[in-house]
Amino acid sequence: MSGPTEPTTPVATDARGSAPAEPQRVPAAGTAASTRDVRVSPHGTAATPGARVVQVQKSLMVHNDGVAATNREAFRHSLVLNVVSSPGSGKTALLERTVRDLDGSLSVAVVVGDLETDNDAERLHAAGAPSVQIVTGTVCHLEAEMVARAVDQLDLDGLDVLVIENVGNLVCPAAWDLGEDLRVTMLSVTEGEDKPLKYPRIFKDADAVVINKIDIAEVVGFDRGRALDAVRKVAPGARLFELSARTGEGVGDWLDYLRERRRLKASAMAAAATDAS
């Protein structure tokens, strides 16, 4: 860490202006590039002497989104959920309950991500669902490619529901599309009613929000009104479920939702197949 280095601190600039001076065409230094139409960014010209501007305009997620699209194609016969929550909200418990209570009426397989151990996959396997554990090591979220590799070990033919249990984390998984149909964000009554406000992105993108452990809500002084208000504010379009994976209370509505969404996807796929033929 010595010698002169250029500043690397991200420089926050105002999106609505602050373009330094008037934009001008930056001369290309090399002949190879000089014939190219080098467009100048609306945010200004190259600040480095001798440098030229190259427009890229690509999402950092472009690779992941491509793999997610391939996953989505491979998943066309199954309803696919991406379940996210903090560690300990009860994702695995809800999935165990879901598999047991469906009792074979829908076939379910699970891909589960954790930093270490395959304990969750073993629990889900014991509950009756084929399960594949993704051990992410130090990676704090699942990416589409990890899921693609994991589902190679599953038989997707005739599978009604594929559940991807993400790494317990309310921040990092948000940006990674895995190819799912539904994003399910969970919180439990022990976590604080303002969680949706603290982690807005992951709640905002949720198709369904599940509040778990309602059997102990009273004991822990859970303010239901405040929690529902926070969910409704951040995720006004999400379906809301209040349940206890442990006692089974409220789980019926959740299962009905899965059946309904599974049916909707199957008919959409059938209609698309008819149109295509």
């Binding site: 500043p7 690397t8 926050a12 190259v54 690509k58 905002k204 379009g237």
Partner: protein
């Protein structure tokens, strides 16, 4: 620390674009990041510090433009900027909540400055 994954993806895209343009060195990388993208600036900088070593962007500046979150109100048929950091989108004209986020999730490599 998902910022590390983002930075790896950023460097990959940046090097490809720079090479395609016949450049040998990247002197600046400009990102556009939405207010609800879930990126921590300090974590991004930290990840960049580590990941840039040995790449064409080893001596590059990292510049980030943060884009405000903008939602669409179906009732008023107009867009509005969110006035809070909590992702709460309530139309300032009619008070209706909106689930239609039009801007704020961006993780975009906008442009580079490159040299021969």
């Amino acid at each position: 620390m998902h910022e590390f994954s983002l930075v790896m993806s950023m460097l990959d895209l940046a090097e490809k674009a720079a090479r395609a343009d016949g450049a040998r060195r990247i002197s600046a990388i400009h990102l556009e990041i939405g207010a609800l993208a879930g990126v921590v600036p300090e974590a991004l900088e930290f990840a960049f510090e580590g990941a840039r070593v040995g790449t064409m962007a080893e001596h590059a500046r990292l510049e980030v433009t943060y884009l405000p979150a903008i939602a669409y109100c179906a009732t008023c048929q107009s867009e509005f900027e969110l006035d809070n950091r909590f992702g709460i989108a309530v139309c300032p004209s009619c008070d209706a909540p909106s689930a239609d986020l039009r801007q704020g999730r961006e993780l975009q490599l906008a442009h580079l400055e490159v040299e021969e």
